[in-house]
């Protein structure tokens, strides 16, 4: 859709919450999303879709998103991705440099004005049809790297982080990350956290009792590199180890799928001064990183 025919979007319009900001604002006064996103959308003459990655703190959102962007920027298979705006490269660059040094990136700060946002143009080649190639699918995408602590705070006290409320409402597709190793160990926290997140989403965008949530939602079992059972059959793993979440999906979601993914092959750790574990990636081998994104992207108009 051309921005020229959509005068409601200006360089002062926040693409996330819709607030009209003061000229020269760097971030939205309401939700702290960068105004650069609106500038880029006007420059590209497109209304971008938003795909968000949600999940608990330490579930691996930054690693997943950064690796996804780096893989996309290498033009895998049928997808071509081009970063728009220098700021869009920061997240993947930071991740790659940390992993190459066998470190994980630092935790994403809770403050929304410190989050990394990326703006990408994605082109997906369509499979060849009967004798002729189908037209390409093109889409502008915005993906934020939000902090798990902020999400947890929002779930505990709704409307404390306006940006999260707005993102849940306007995201065209959602990826919910769940820590596979915690789930396998019998820790129900991941199950409850994802359940709360989807219940909250149901409150925001759900309709009546009979109307299910129609957004495409990928349930992504992260850190599955140490759990082959999750790769063998992600849905069966979820049914067994995340049963509350699995039941909710079948009850309230219309368009969902389970995936398993991993970025590192093995982890070690060192102990810091306070005897806390600091995880160390021993080597990097992305596995099924693209599949959840491809599934969501194919369902985003």
């Amino acid at each position: 859709m051309s921005v020229a025919t959509e005068p409601v979007i200006t360089e002062q319009t926040c693409l996330i919450c819709g607030l009209e900001n003061e000229p020269e604002s760097m971030v939205c006064a309401e939700c702290f999303a960068p105004m650069e996103l609106a500038v880029q959308a006007i420059r590209q003459q497109a209304v971008p879709n938003i795909i968000s990655v949600f999940g608990d703190s330490n579930v691996g959102k930054t690693v997943y998103l950064g690796m996804l962007l780096d893989i996309l920027s290498k033009h895998p298979e049928d997808l071509t991705a081009v970063a728009k705006g220098v700021y869009s490269i920061d997240l993947q660059a930071s991740l790659v440099m940390h992993l190459a040094m066998r470190k994980f990136p630092p935790k994403t700060p809770s403050e929304p004005d410190h989050w990394e946002w990326v703006y990408y143009q994605i082109t997906q080649e369509r499979a060849k049809g009967r004798g002729r190639k189908q037209p390409e699918k093109q889409c502008d995408l915005i993906m934020p790297d939000l902090a798990g602590e902020a999400l947890a705070a929002e779930l505990a006290e709704p409307r404390s982080f306006q940006v999260i409320v707005s993102l849940l409402g306007i995201s065209a597709g959602i990826m919910v990350l769940v820590d596979t190793l915690q789930a396998r160990s019998g820790n129900a926290y991941q199950d409850f956290f994802a359940l709360k997140l989807l219940s909250y989403l149901d409150d925001i965008v759900g309709g009546t009792r009979k109307q299910k949530i129609r957004k495409p939602i990928a349930i992504v079992l992260s850190k599955a590199d140490q759990c082959e059972e999750a790769f063998d059959d992600p849905e069966r793993f979820a049914k067994t180890n995340l049963n509350r979440l699995w039941n909710f999906c079948y009850t309230r979601l219309e368009n969902f799928q389970f995936f398993a993914t991993g970025v590192v092959g093995a982890q070690g750790y060192i102990l810091d001064e306070d005897e806390n574990r600091v995880a160390i990636p021993l080597y990097v081998e992305p596995r099924n990183v693209l599949e959840p994104f491809r599934w969501v992207f194919s369902r985003v108009s």
Binding site: Q226, E228, A266, G268, L282, V284, E285
Partner: protein, 381 residues
């Protein structure tokens, strides 16, 4: 002669037993009974082994019920060898085992001929690596020399290729998982859990005790360190330690500068057309004899990429500050990188990493090794 099942009614011992039954109607009765018993016993002795072979050979065409609907079957099915004979063991790829136990059979009339045959076959599967010493990096990034150490290497032989699915099939069919001598005592309770997707003993990604169709020449994966070590023992070899593996990959010449060792078997620079890693774009393991240009000077191939390789060494490493990296489980060193190794720097001869010895992953295989003094005649040949 292998008779098809539908012709079994031709088996003469069955006729003999039937004749005995007819004679049972006549006198004396004990003659009839004796004929029947002889017929049954002879039939049992002659055909029970054959029936077992039939069952084994027929297995790919008639997989276990649980696997019947997915049913990838062996296409490059080797003829079932008789593992009780020397030719049978050679057919299973157990050349080193046969040679190392030659005292038990060399007096056989064909002994010398069999020995020569075994040596020539073994030679074709191994590459000789000369004496040297290698520099093992002691830290994660390899930038701190304080924890590096030199390891002297005795001459040894290493598999020219990683072990393939077809080679490992012999181990599965030959009862390797049931052979208690091949497994450490403390791991025995877990061996029964080393199952494939259909619940039969075998690598994780197999079905019905068979490897996936068309993948006979690909490296076997989905095996843990214990399975790799058991296979190596079964064929009379062992896993290389990580210093040996590194020597095979960087081909360091004894006496050269201490700090000089090649990053790759072919030279100093990564070339993703000589190996199968992420940027090569293959996306899965390939046949073990691909990438001939990526071989070491002794034509040992695919040390870099395709699949990680288990070594016999425990994995210990420190961070840049010298802090020991801890893991939740004892870790074995894996080397070389795999088809999905993302960073080129992590698929080099020096890069060290580790994995849980019980992990049965999609991208870890192994190759075997042999000390040069284990079979001196091989090295002199």
């Amino acid at each position: 002669m292998a008779l098809h099942r539908k012709y079994r009614w031709f088996y003469w011992p069955a006729w003999l037993a039937g004749l005995g039954a007819i004679l049972a109607l006549s006198n004396p009765w004990w003659v009839a009974a004796a004929v029947a018993v002889v017929g049954l016993v002879v039939g049992k002795v002659l055909f029970s082994g054959r029936a077992t072979d039939h069952a084994r050979a027929a297995k790919p065409d008639a997989p276990a019920k649980a696997a019947s609907h997915t049913a990838p079957v062996v296409d490059e099915r080797p003829p079932a060898p008789d593992e009780r004979t020397i030719p049978g063991m050679l057919q299973q790829g157990r050349h080193a085992f046969v040679i190392r136990n030659r005292d038990k059979w060399i007096d056989h009339p064909d002994g010398e001929e069999l020995l020569a045959h075994a040596i020539s076959q073994l030679e074709a599967t191994l590459g000789f690596v000369p004496e040297s010493d290698v520099l093992i990096r002691g830290t994660l990034t390899g930038t701190s020399e304080a924890h590096d150490h030199h390891v002297p290497i005795e001459p040894f032989l290493i598999g020219a290729h990683t072990v393939t699915n077809a080679m490992y099939q012999h181990f599965v069919d030959g009862g390797g998982y049931e052979n208690l001598d091949l497994w450490p005592e403390d791991i025995l309770p877990l061996v029964l859990e080393f199952c494939d997707r259909s619940g039969e003993l075998g690598p994780h990604y197999w079905t019905g005790g068979r490897f996936p169709t068309g993948q006979g020449n690909r490296p076997v994966v989905g095996i843990c360190w214990y399975e790799a070590a058991a296979y190596a023992r079964w064929i009379g070899q062992r896993l290389p330690n990580e210093a040996e593996w590194q020597m095979a990959a960087n081909w360091r010449v004894a006496g050269s500068s201490k700090s000089y060792q090649r990053a790759y078997p072919w030279g100093e620079a990564m070339d993703h057309e000589r190996c199968n890693i992420w940027v090569s774009g293959r996306g899965e393991p390939v046949d073990v004899d691909e990438y001939p240009d990526g071989g070491a000077p002794n034509d040992v191939r695919q040390l870099i990429g395709n699949v990680w390789e288990w070594t016999d060494s425990d994995f210990e490493i420190r961070d840049q500050k010298g802090e020991q990296i801890l893991t939740d489980f004892p870790t074995k060193t894996i080397r070389g990188g795999a088809f999905d190794t993302f960073f080129e720097s992590q698929a080099s001869s020096e890069f060290r990493t580790g994995q849980n010895p019980l992990a049965r992953k999609h991208n870890i295989g192994f190759r075997c090794a042999l000390s040069a003094d284990a079979i001196p005649m091989l090295v002199s040949a």
